[in-house]
Symmetry: D2
């Protein structure tokens, strides 16, 4: 759209597009609003759209993903969650335990990471576990504990929704809904998250290409939810010295293709406590929009992924390094 | 259990186990019935169970999977679907189009593969697609077309259930419910399939280890459905000459660890028509319990995965080779 | 060249090509001789060559490899070693110990595999070992033992040359020079093997694409040695249930691109004794031109790779299966 | 050895070890000298060594590598090349063209990177090329050009030795001998580099585990050359958005196991110009001891790997970022 067009003009154009039998997605940017058109079975003629009032230009998108592509929207997307912004120059630190285990543990960790400067609290109430016999999370009770921790610390909550059955419940308590690596191509879940009004944190699958990751984000966006940020969390390779191989090149590569923010999870990306801080520093330096770090006050007793959790004082030291490097690469914390 | 114990004795033991706070899973074998015990948080003392009447031996299972392990049940599992048996010496050929596109196409392919000797008809009514803008399947209409093709040809139907929302609908029409590679760790779907009375075909995820595959089968079994067969369909590697790298060593490796049948899908495993027949022959020779082959009467017009579909006459030639090799390795078709 | 042209006409054409400043490679086929032209910096005009007497057609080769490409030579290449032919319908079984450990052990295994029907004796005199402190082979003494075993059994010898320093020594004793996976891109060694008059068995590198494998074969061919056969021996992936992931799709894929024979090594390809026979059967069924199998009379005491060696009686049973499947797929043993 | 023992005492102990039939490797550290013992076929009794005069402690090394292990030498190794130190807190920047193409090009790039603050000049005179028909380097002429560039700029030269035949020639001109990824397990080359008096830069193979990388370093060390630094340059995975997947976790993982310095090559590690600077920054942040960067004054005309070379002014900007981050993580440039 032209700069400075009114809401009404945008609505008029989207109405015209819908009347033509397509879906229209108005995606606001800093200078102008882009309107993505999806639902066509065959290529469309740009001139059909360029004659609409207020339309500056119609660009056919060559990528298989449309709404999440930089071709549609040139500016970096910034997401606001409970007053805290992520992306487009604002760096976010998400920290907390792998799993919510008890109120006491969650509050202890939440206060600790808050004190060190984290912006979001993470913690799993529903846990995807390889074995049906492993601890599967505290479920609703876990969500309530997270809400209580938010109340006490002011930190917005990021937590995973595992399936369509419990997505609404998670959305009721969470500020950001996480979709995990194993669910990156659970298309029904993606679509339901796309119809939900919460920002979504979408993790890259264990052997997903970036095109596949962006197509999965497109599933969410195509349902009308454009508040998506991506997460690199390591991919599966022959390498055995870490649990996964953290692919930091995904950060500049995603930024080239898409306007969405991308953060890095060095905890799952390495699976080993002593590798978390070095790779977290590297994630800041490579240009990520945030990091997600597992912190536990007693990792040896953690019910899930203890060996990769930082102790609160290790996290505190890391935050100092993160701040300094973020500053150097022009990111505000 | 001892050989020759009665149903009542088995029930008495399972009742005792349940009364102790665990879950009991009676798994009949050719000579004796095994009873899997799950739900314990800590290792149990075998002698607690060996004193129960009719119990021959209690074996602690060292694998993370229990019910699908050969430690629990030594004999190969054989699954019966609509009169056709798979596993334990009986080889099954599943063939049909990637996606159900129309009644005419489905019937044409179904009659062709039946004439060549296939035992099951495959075809997707719900398609997992990387892009939200790709053809997603005919859904309910597709299921009805499959049912009609079964009526006409007598071939039982194998078709994929994509999510918990539509699993019941699929189960109503399908003889075997397929769970695809992308859903191998969709635990909610696995559990729901475990509560359903249909045999389940579980495909290996794109970068799943065999332990993970067997743990996912365990999710199904732990809900009481032991009619599971596995499917190797290629894994993701650096190699680019095929779409995936078909890992035929998975067949003897699974058979060593588990009593479940395992089949091979060389169509997805290679993604290229001219590689399907050689790898199908290799799958028979390596000892698989079956193969799943995509066949299309007009692959160039296929709505999904055309380049990997065999033409009916190619499939017919393949069946002759499959029969000869199966015979050599002691499998009955 | 035209069918039925004389040696003189071929020589005249090659002389003309050399006079033009290029290299000419006359590669005889069953019906006609192809002459590969290399050494050009820029694309050449086919008509410059088509006017030469006896030339039927000049085809620009689009592949990065030329001499090993099917575009240059349409017929399968058959290699003759000491009276035994490999490729183009003739299946070869190469068997023997991983390493030559002693005269007694080598003779015992050689007699055993000969009795079971193997065509070639394998055995390493120079061993590439990850650790400088592991057994590195008997070297010259090992070569002499192999020669002695050939004398006693009549089996031609396949053995590895590790470096340019010892290649001539190996060539003096061996009938076929093996270049191992770690040396697939040791270009100096490839070139020296290309100047040697022995057939070369070139193994695929641990993470080599097929294009890279064929380019390495091209290095050998470009020095004038066209007696090359390739070997798939497993690639490195995330999978842990076998030592490597045997990629049997490489067989039809190589055959599509190249006229060279390709064999399969299921011993290194799986690294586990109980997987060797199933994957060997699969290799025959997929259309390989041969297999290479490690056999040891006392694997638990083997100085190298004991866990993957078959016992002589296991090898004998395997040979019966191999013969039957080879017969089915139209290969003569 | 005890702190403060004399050279004579060390020599006496090494002589005793040699007399016992083993090899002794004296490796000086900041506080004490360690003496590595290799060549034993069976585990040795530590007390046999602890009774030798001046010996403080004998530690059996559990890693398969000995001399490069932190168990043998606790302090970080620092290497000095022509007055410039690498490792143990000193960060090194190695920059220059992929291949030496001409005197003019090499001098232009060398002066540019020197002006921006690089410490070493890189450039290939012998190039490992997948195709026998690609540019293979200027060879001796290239070495002379590098020597001339060193003379003009004062930058020590890092260049690759491809084979044992030309290693001595390379060693005559180079300050550091590079062994490339394809040659990581060219054991003859490693051993010859171990007998040469030049520091060696050993690159990780395309699918090498860290244990294999350290074992290859051990090959060099076991011949008496302890001046080794390692290089992470990306590994081969399913990912296609970069040429290789740069595995930055290798840096902390190597440092945990070994006292050797490790640098990072983001040029080969990504293969794409716009990813080089972000990953170079990440390499500094993760704790690497240096980076190796390809710079070309006219990348579009480069004879090798143009798409990954930085322009001189891009390199200049990168150096400013590198300096700032190195400073933050406590490394001196």
């Amino acid at each position: 759209m032209e700069q400075g067009v009114s809401e009404e003009e945008i609505e008029r154009v989207t109405a015209r597009i819908e009347a033509m039998g397509f879906r229209a997605h108005a995606i606001p940017g800093s200078l102008r609003t882009a309107i993505g058109v999806t639902g066509n079975k065959v290529p469309l003629d740009p001139s059909e759209f360029e004659i609409l009032p207020g339309v500056k230009m119609a660009i056919p998108v060559t990528q298989p993903y449309k709404l999440v592509s930089r071709e549609v929207k040139h500016d970096d997307t910034q997401i606001e969650v409970a007053g805290r912004r992520i992306g487009a120059g604002r760096f976010a630190v998400i920290a907390g335990p792998c799993a919510v285990e008890s109120l006491q543990q969650t509050l202890a960790v939440a206060h600790a990471v808050k004190a060190s400067g984290a912006h979001f609290l993470r913690g799993g109430a529903f846990k995807p576990r390889t074995s049906p016999y492993s601890f599967q999370g505290l479920e609703l009770e876990g969500l309530k504990i997270l809400a209580r921790a938010r109340e006490e610390t002011g930190l917005p909550v990021v937590t995973e929704a595992l399936d369509t059955e419990t997505l609404d419940m998670v959305a009721e308590y969470a500020d950001v809904i996480q979709i995990g690596a194993r669910n990156m191509q659970n298309f029904q879940l993606l679509k339901k998250a796309g119809r939900c009004r919460r920002p979504v944190l979408l993790k890259r699958g264990m052997s997903a290409t970036l095109d596949e990751l962006l197509m999965s984000a497109e599933y969410i966006a195509s349902e009308g939810n454009y508040q998506i940020f991506l997460c690199e969390r390591g991919v599966r390779t022959f390498s055995t010295h870490t649990r996964n191989t953290l692919d930091l090149s995904a950060v500049p590569a995603v930024k080239q293709q898409s306007h969405l923010p991308i953060i890095v999870d060095p905890s799952h990306g390495t699976g080993k406590r002593d590798k978390v801080a070095p790779l977290a520093r590297a994630a800041v330096a490579v240009g990520a929009d945030g990091i997600m770090i597992e912190v536990h006050d007693n990792p040896d007793r953690a019910l899930s992924d203890g060996p990769q959790a930082l102790l609160p004082d290790q996290f505190d030291r890391l935050m100092k390094e993160v701040r300094a490097i973020a500053d150097l690469v022009g990111m505000g914390l």
